[in-house]
């Protein structure tokens, strides 16, 4: 993918995250350019999702800065962060749909809360978003009656409800079969091209990473920091770090007999 303008919309500088005294990642720095599909990669348990929480305002980092454009996100007040956060769309693992509302109501809630649109306008927007993600039936179903793939789609429609600038996806293809997963990847690319939204996704699914991501950062579980920067396919072909190389090639790290 060639994107002519290399304008970072999100800059992460020296970020450290953790719970309590337990550090999970430190000194993580990367830039996300406008219109790119950026991958936060790494083995299970390395702190990808925790890092994502620091980007979307759920967990205050213990050091470093998260800048959206010129704004230092965590230096803002809670109210300013809330306002700012409406420019994000977030798809949580498994969708995290509000279980007491139907699929359509899930997509409608952000619009009801943060726009002055009337019922009819909201309704037509909800129908549009649900059609965009390919959910043509089951719009009035409760989340518990939907399949995993459909829930994921509704979650994506909800994340798109307020037409965000940046879309954060946490393990979007986890629990989907290969075909559904591929379809979901295609959908993300189509939406990116259509809305010009920047996508930041946490994933360890190699087909998705190679298929749609054009930039990324690789987090290591052992050293607790970023050990690779670049597109997944570039990392696969040219990274000389043994862990990154092994991950991307789906093999065991060299020297597994005496691992780090």
């Amino acid at each position: 993918m060639n994107h002519e303008q290399k304008e970072p919309v999100l800059q992460v500088q020296g970020l450290a995250v953790g719970y309590g005294d337990q550090g999970i990642q430190h000194d993580v720095s990367f830039d996300v350019n406008r219109g790119s599909v950026f991958a936060i990669m790494g083995p299970s348990g390395c702190g990808k999702s925790t890092l994502l929480k620091a980007l979307i305002g759920l967990l205050r980092p213990s050091a470093g800065a998260v800048r959206f454009g010129t704004k230092d996100y965590w230096a803002l007040s809670q109210d300013q962060r809330d306002d700012f956060g409406r420019g994000f769309g977030v798809l949580f693992q498994g969708g995290a749909l509000w279980s007491s509302m139907t699929a359509a109501e899930n997509v409608a809630l952000p619009l009801q809360m943060f726009t002055r649109l009337g019922v009819a306008a909201i309704d037509s927007l909800v129908q549009l978003k649900l059609s965009l993600v390919g959910l043509d039936s089951g719009r009035e179903s409760m989340p518990s009656d939907l399949s995993g793939g459909m829930r994921q789609r509704v979650g994506l429609a909800r994340a798109l409800a307020l037409d965000p600038q940046i879309l954060f996806l946490d393990e979007p293809s986890a629990g989907l079969d290969p075909i559904a997963s591929k379809r979901f990847d295609d959908l993300i690319i189509q939406l990116r091209d259509g809305f010009g939204v920047t996508v930041v996704m946490v994933s360890h699914e190699l087909p998705s990473l190679f298929g749609i991501c054009d930039d990324g950062v690789f987090l290591d579980a052992a050293t607790h920091t970023a050990i690779g920067h670049g597109a997944p396919s570039v990392l696969r072909d040219s990274s000389d770090h043994p862990v990154v190389h092994a991950f991307m090639q789906r093999e065991r790290p060299a020297g597994n007999e005496a691992p780090a």
Partner: protein
């Protein structure tokens, strides 16, 4: 040839420094032999150099064989006794190798021996006090926030959806009517029976009406309704919010900048604070009706007299006292339920804990608050 006494499924044959272990019969977790790690008998000879296996007589086997073999291997390793696994079935050998590999892959980091001491009493009570203080602060913030937001809601400025508020009103109001009615009618009837025992002896039967009316309006209807609501609604609030926590639904709200205080807590607190007094009035009336039914049908008191007596006992003053209490109880139940739900953990057990502790905290809170009201009323001569 010696038979290891601890394990009937193998025999050992000693040959110089070597020991040949013959595995026989079935080695499954379902057997009487079960899982055995008793290898001491094998290793009690000093000159032991190598262990070999013969599994030609081995029947069915599962993990219990692996447990034994790995115990043998682990016991042999520190004494550098060679374990020759060529006699073990190939499948078991592969599994053992896998076991080996994972043991190596996860370096056994021996944590620096933490000073294993129990926290001192002073330290523990200090930590407890700090935790309690934090809880008091959090609760104060919640109560203050709710007061401000309910004013904002009345002015139409809170981020609360009317549909949620109406739903909560229905749940905390109409849906609770049958249960409140049942409990209160029985309490009224019981009060009439209790009164009858003592008042009969003085020929003061008619004061049963006073007893039922006064007790019901001043105390029982308010307390009983609140207890029903804490079990029914307070527990449900806590469980509902806690399970939203577990499925990331609260995070999804937070990310959008939808304040949980407005969106989740406010409709519940407002609904319960408004509906509990209504239920109290209903409960009082139904309770007196219960007492009336018992008094008239079983205690031979004339209906007209009962009504006249009850009306003289139950004044506007008593009703407003009960009403005030039930408003306080409603707010308490809703705030406790929501607070406990919000601070719950993310597992299924946490949901159960949240529901239980919401009910327990509410019931204890109701009784304590009721005692405070009683003492204050006494002091103020109300």
């Amino acid at each position: 040839m010696t038979i290891a006494p601890t394990n009937p499924r193998l025999t050992t044959r000693v040959n110089g420094g070597d020991t040949l272990v013959t595995l026989m019969g079935d080695w499954t977790t379902q057997d009487d032999g079960g899982v055995s790690t008793a290898t001491a008998a094998l290793f009690d000879r000093k000159e032991l150099r190598a262990i070999e296996f013969d599994s030609s007589g081995l029947g069915r086997w599962d993990s219990s064989l692996l447990v034994y073999l790995s115990a043998v291997r682990d016991a042999a390793a520190p004494r550098s006794i060679r374990v020759d696994d060529s006699g073990i079935p190939i499948a078991a050998r592969r599994l053992l190798a896998l076991l080996n590999q994972h043991q190596q892959a996860v370096p056994r980091v021996v944590a620096p021996a933490a000073p294993a001491r129990r926290a001192m009493f002073v330290e523990r009570s200090g930590l407890w006090a700090i935790a309690q203080w934090c809880e008091v602060v959090a609760m104060t913030v919640l109560v203050g926030g709710q007061l401000l937001q309910s004013v904002a809601a009345v002015l139409g400025r809170a981020r609360m959806r009317r549909v949620d508020f109406v739903g909560c009103m229905y749940d905390a109001g109409i849906a609770a009517l049958p249960m409140v009615a049942l409990v209160n009618v029985l309490v009224g009837a019981i009060l009439a029976f209790v009164g009858a025992i003592e008042l009969r002896r003085f020929g003061a039967d008619i004061y049963i009406a006073n007893l039922v009316g006064l007790a019901q309006v001043r105390e029982m209807a308010a307390v009983m309704t609140a207890i029903v609501m804490s079990g029914r609604t307070g527990g449900a609030y806590a469980a509902e919010i806690a399970s939203m926590q577990g499925s990331n639904e609260l995070d999804a709200l937070r990310v959008l900048g939808i304040p949980l205080q407005d969106y989740l807590v406010l409709p519940r607190v407002m609904a319960l604070t408004l509906m509990t007094p209504v239920l109290y009035l209903y409960g009082s009336a139904i309770g007196i009706l219960g007492g009336f039914a018992v008094a008239v049908s079983m205690l031979n008191i004339s209906p007209e007299l009962f009504i006249a007596q009850a009306r003289s006992a139950v004044t506007m003053h008593e009703i407003s006292f009960g009403l005030t209490k039930s408003i306080a109880f409603g707010a308490l139940i809703a705030l406790a339920g929501c607070r406990i739900g919000l601070k719950a953990g993310r597992s299924a057990t946490d949901v159960g804990h949240a529901a239980t502790s919401a009910v327990v905290v509410s019931i204890i809170g109701i009784i304590m608050l009721d005692a405070v009201f009683a003492v204050c009323a006494n002091a103020l001569d109300m």
